[in-house]
């Protein structure tokens, strides 16, 4: 079978189960394509020979009852993987090899999947373009010198370029959905508390969630089913009854009420985004769902709230990088000097900027004016959604205010970079699930995504709406393999 890497996850699983393909054949195909795709810079760490060994071992005694039997998979380098280097895209963790495994990745290996390697990302997941990574920016397979989005930019690039059949990212303010939208793939940010945060390098603990990134909604549902679990090692993990997301997947969304929030019609939004949104409304209507106009009045305050809450939590979480217990250490004349030089040399500019913001908003005299104020506005934002969900089952918005931009285009203006997450950030602040699905192209042929936001713990409904829309949209990603010589 020559075009193994072109197959979806579901097709690969079927072919392995039907014994038409072995895990070794599949793994070798993805390794080979990844080897030819180094120009994309999607990988930070390759674990290819170990992957082929594991695949051979799987084939000796294949357990075909597993959900991901012998499927190779690369994951974002924010997940701790036992005995495989985990950097979080940072110099400060460049020599860090975890002695334990994150719960989410353990769930994946327990279902028979095989680690291919670790994927590039913005440093500590702080960024919207993958340009803050210590290991350099990632190319978007859609076009040369185009960002793949971020922070899960290596992940989005690798799935779109078919270097891995599927992957996992993390999403604190849009880091799964925005890169999914920029590369023409599907990305799900689950409800806060749905997937364990144990073993994920922490950024902003009240917002961070892991989630699947896939070529289609069915594959996405399958991986979500594998990674979502209650875990006592994460104190905010929630013990609720999880669905059989794939088995219960249906394109029947007749009678569902879909809300259209007027506040998402932001100033200066390109016409093609507006048009895409209108087309999305037509698609859901075609599926028999009902459109209802709603209001989320505090939408405009979400980004300023996020840029207090997330840096505050980050400044606290990143205090652990002190050059003593693990990671990079710079020489210093005394202990304090060592701390200051380690952190100054070990963290990149964006991470330092956010630690500084966070330290400032939590510092004596400013806590009430900034952090407490932001927590109050966060409550108002959550109340907006609670109110809307009395009337609707889900909400439809664009995923991003534009298509992917060029590498270097926004690096000198942090605020314009932050504006990328205008439609995704409110979802994290309210702890809700959100999914981005590819829905069309702009004039340049770059993909555009639509976002569906669901009620807390209602991933099934969210996936069903996405599944029904996907069928209507019939999106085809335009990838020419330009990077393969």
């Amino acid at each position: 079978m020559s075009d193994i890497t072109k197959q979806s996850l579901s097709e690969l699983i079927k072919n392995i189960k039907d014994k038409k393909l072995s895990s070794t054949e599949v793994t070798k195909a993805f390794v080979e394509r990844s080897e030819k795709s180094k120009e994309l810079n999607a990988y930070v760490t390759e674990d290819f020979s170990a992957a082929i060994d594991k695949a051979k071992k799987f084939d000796e005694n294949p357990n075909l009852d597993l959900k991901l039997p012998g499927i190779p998979m690369a994951v974002k380098d924010l997940f701790c993987t036992k005995n495989v280097k985990t950097t979080a895209g940072s110099k400060i963790l460049n020599n860090f090899t975890p002695t334990y495994e994150s719960t989410v990745t353990q769930n994946i290996w327990n279902e028979g999947a095989i680690l291919l390697g670790k994927l590039n990302c913005d440093e500590f997941a702080m960024g919207s373009s993958n340009e803050t990574s210590f290991f350099g920016c990632v190319q978007n397979p859609i076009d040369k010198n185009l960002v793949p989005g971020g922070s899960s930019g290596g992940s989005s690039s690798a799935v779109a370029a078919q270097l891995t059949p599927i992957t996992i990212g993390t999403d604190t303010g849009g880091s799964i959905r925005q890169p999914a939208s920029f590369t023409g793939i599907v990305g799900l940010k689950p409800t806060y508390g749905s997937c364990s945060r144990y073993g994920i390098v922490a950024f902003a603990s009240s917002l961070d969630q892991a989630g699947p990134m896939a070529q289609n909604v069915r594959d996405c549902a399958l991986l979500h089913e594998v990674i979502s679990s209650y875990d006592e090692k994460d104190s905010t993990s929630i013990d609720f009854k999880r669905n059989n997301y794939v088995k219960e997947l249906t394109n029947n969304i007749k009678g569902k009420k879909i809300g259209i929030p007027k506040e998402y019609r932001v100033d200066g939004m390109p016409k093609e985004i507006e048009d895409l949104w209108m087309k999305g409304i037509d698609y859901v209507k075609d599926c028999g769902a009902e459109i209802i106009d709603i209001s989320l009045p505090h939408t405009n305050y979400a980004l300023p709230t996020y840029y207090i809450v997330a840096p505050a939590e980050a400044s606290s979480n990143l205090a652990r990088y002190d050059g003593v217990k693990y990671g990079f250490r710079a020489d210093g004349e005394n202990l304090i000097d060592m701390y200051e030089k380690t952190r100054s040399e070990g963290f990149g500019a964006e991470v330092q900027r956010r630690i500084m913001i966070g330290t400032y908003v939590l510092s004596s005299g400013y806590y009430d004016a900034y952090y407490l104020k932001a927590q109050k506005v966060r409550k108002l934002i959550k109340n907006d959604f609670d109110e809307a969900y009395k009337k609707v089952d889900a909400i439809l918005t664009p995923s991003t205010p534009s298509s992917a931009f060029k590498i270097g285009e926004k690096t000198n203006d942090p605020v314009s970079m932050y504006l990328n997450d205008i439609f995704t950030v409110p979802v994290n602040l309210a702890g809700l699930p959100g999914i981005s699905i590819p829905a069309g192209h702009d004039a340049k042929g770059y993909p555009l995504g639509l976002q569906i936001i669901g009620k807390a713990f209602d991933e099934q409904n969210l996936l069903n709406i996405a599944y029904a829309m996907e069928e209507k949209i019939n999106f085809k990603n335009k990838i020419t393999d330009w990077w393969i010589k």
Partner: protein, 105 residues
């Protein structure tokens, strides 16, 4: 929108403030970096201060989206003999200890 007066001031972050935050966050900055940071932080705070348009006196702050109380677990040891694993990634260790620059004269 109702403007809340006590917050209706425009902060400006000067180099002295940057030095102070740099000390609190244990990140050394030279003059050039401090100037760049001051510029960046001022534009970010200008953006953040939009929140001052909102009156929030009677709003309860949101501390957790989950709205559940954190579970307590029994105080029992579940993993043992992790000393080697814990020390394994240390930049400098001496048998069972982390080593840091001399603290006591």
């Amino acid at each position: 929108m109702i403007v809340c007066d006590i917050f209706n001031y425009h902060m400006s972050i000067d180099l002295k403030t940057i030095k102070h935050i740099s000390k609190l966050s244990r990140i050394s900055v030279d003059k050039k970096k401090a100037e760049k940071l001051a510029g960046d932080l001022n534009s970010i705070f200008e953006f953040i201060e939009k929140l001052n348009e909102l009156k929030t006196d009677n709003v309860q702050p949101l501390t957790s989206v989950a709205e559940t109380t954190l579970k307590l677990r029994d105080d029992e040891v579940k993993s043992k003999n992790l000393r080697e694993q814990i020390i394994k990634n240390s930049p400098q260790e001496n048998e069972d200890y982390f080593v840091v620059p001399k603290v006591i004269e």
